[in-house]
């Protein structure tokens, strides 16, 4: 079946590396390239990039 990554991870749209987002966080910063994003949650356990912060 699927080889899924943890659902609270998002892929940075700038450097394409994955990083973990704290539960319920509304913003997050990519630790690899420092791009800052607004975050939304399609499900309580899955983070998604909403836009640039």
């Amino acid at each position: 079946m699927n080889k899924l990554s943890p659902q609270s991870e998002v892929r940075c749209l700038n450097c394409l590396k994955r990083f973990t987002v704290s539960p319920k966080a509304e913003t997050a910063v990519c630790p690899h390239c420092n791009t800052k994003y607004r975050i939304s949650w399609p499900t309580p356990n899955q983070a998604k990039v909403r836009g640039l912060a």
Partner: protein, 633 residues
Amino acid sequence: MVIKMVWNREILYINLSTGKISSRTVPKIIRTRYLGGRGVNMYMLFNHLTPKTDPLSPDNVLLVGAGLLAGIPCLGSGRCDIGAKSPLTGAVGDSNIGGFFAPELRFAGFDHIVITGKTSKPVYLLIKNRDIQIKDASHIWGQDTFETQKIIRQDEDDENIKSLVIGAAGENLVKFANVRTGMKNSAGRTGMGCVMGSKNLKAIAVRGTTTLEFTHPDELLEYCKQMNTMITSTRWAKAQSRWGTMIIYSNTNTTGLIRTKNFQLNQLEEGQDLEPENIDKYSIGTSGCYGCAVHCRHRYVLKEGPYAPLYGEGPEYTSLGAFGTMVNCNKMETILVANHLVNKYGVDTLETGGLIAWAMELYEKGIINDKATDGLKLEWGNEEAVYEMIRKITYREGFGNILADGFKAAITKIGSESKYYAIQIKGMSNLHSDERPTPSFALGIATSTRGADHLRSRPAIDMYGLPEELLEEVYGGHVASDYNSYDGKDRMVWWQELLYAVTDSIGVCKFQTVFCAVHAPQWKEFSNLINLTTGLNFSKNQLMEIGERIYTIERLFNSREGFSRKDDNLPERYFKEPTTLGLSAARNKKISMEKFNKMLDGYYKLHSWDSNGVPTRESLKKLDLDHEPSNLV
């Protein structure tokens, strides 16, 4: 009565000029070479038409085809393919629609409908199992696409009737009129609604009450459960079931991959209101197509404002761009209203938005003025002008009448100065994606057999930066991980074209394939589903060969109509104007003509076509296409 899934399915032939109706079973040789849906439609399109047929003449053929797997409980198996020679492009006309029509057609005992001729007055086709009637449609001619479906159900006193219908745009022969079913589903591209309108055919209504017989029903049910679990566990499907295809906007606008102000910018800078999360305040829930566990369609209500009360479904990402970024409107309500209008009138959202955005740029640059636009201020962000242009195009009023014939004709009428600003290929507008940073996407829109189009090949997983070992495993050869790279992207596009040709022929949703997740279903899963459903056995290589055959017969059709390498090109601006906004991977990017041509050469070789993009004698022989037209059905 029980009907076997494959061997008792029939093709229904209807000549509207003579009223003659006949049917025949789909021969096994056609099944094994073309499967169903798009594949069989494209075979018949090549075989039934003589070269240079006028798309609006009674000689054009309208083809409706259920996918081979339509009716199984997974992967959104409600897909139906509609084909004809396109009145918009003169090339292959083909559009795929979801909803519930295709399974209903199969329940009635038919897989395909072949419609020729033209009636002298409006009619609709009513299919109730084996009872087939051509009925007067004078009372529904002029009705919108929602009311038309409602009236047919009322007339027949049957709420379970499923209909393919046209709206005012189809009646008025707008070259990009679509075919619609339900509140939201549209066969939007290439003007299939215009062909229906040219035949005075307002609707095809069907009600079927027979049963589909699967070859291995218990195993099939178990496998469908696995497929649904596989799909719904992906991050993509979870987000899509929450906010629909609009979730794509979060990535494309954030990155800078979305056409804005026609083609002037690649990001909508004040675009927060268009973020998919903002649909929540209008949504009253979601719904899905037949056999779908994702449910990506919002049901929305506008309670306030000049267009309230308004109920609609969607919008798709396509409408978000067509009536948002492309025309520089940054309010969700604008999208909801415009989406409702194009659905009501039955006109393609992408072509309509593309043409209006082009007209706005021409207006800004002074190439057209108030006199040309009937006094309408076609200024960026003018939402009322967008609504009015949708109406004027639909009813062919004034400037709308010029745009209603599509890009090719409009350029001729407005003047050659306008051509540079038209974002179209083979006469069809492109999605609002900006492909300058993504060579794979750029090649795909250039080579698509039906004109600028993302749904023929888009390798969305190119955006994920996947490991090259994994990409090689999927695509069978080297593909660069970097989406800015040209390396291996010819292979990527070729492979996706074959996969989507089969996807459209078995009748499942592209969003539930490798389109969006690398581990989502593809050849192996398709092979298993076909076997459990029909008993037919196909290896991965055999399915790829079928995909190649379908794509090649489409290419043959286009070659016969005069299309060649010169038409597999991008608008000039892709090569000349670099992007200016977005993240580093999207900023300051344009397509290199030299690298594009090299990529195109590689793509032709993978298809075994010659350097002009024409299938070779050897490739035709290998695909059993060397004796076409063979007129088997």
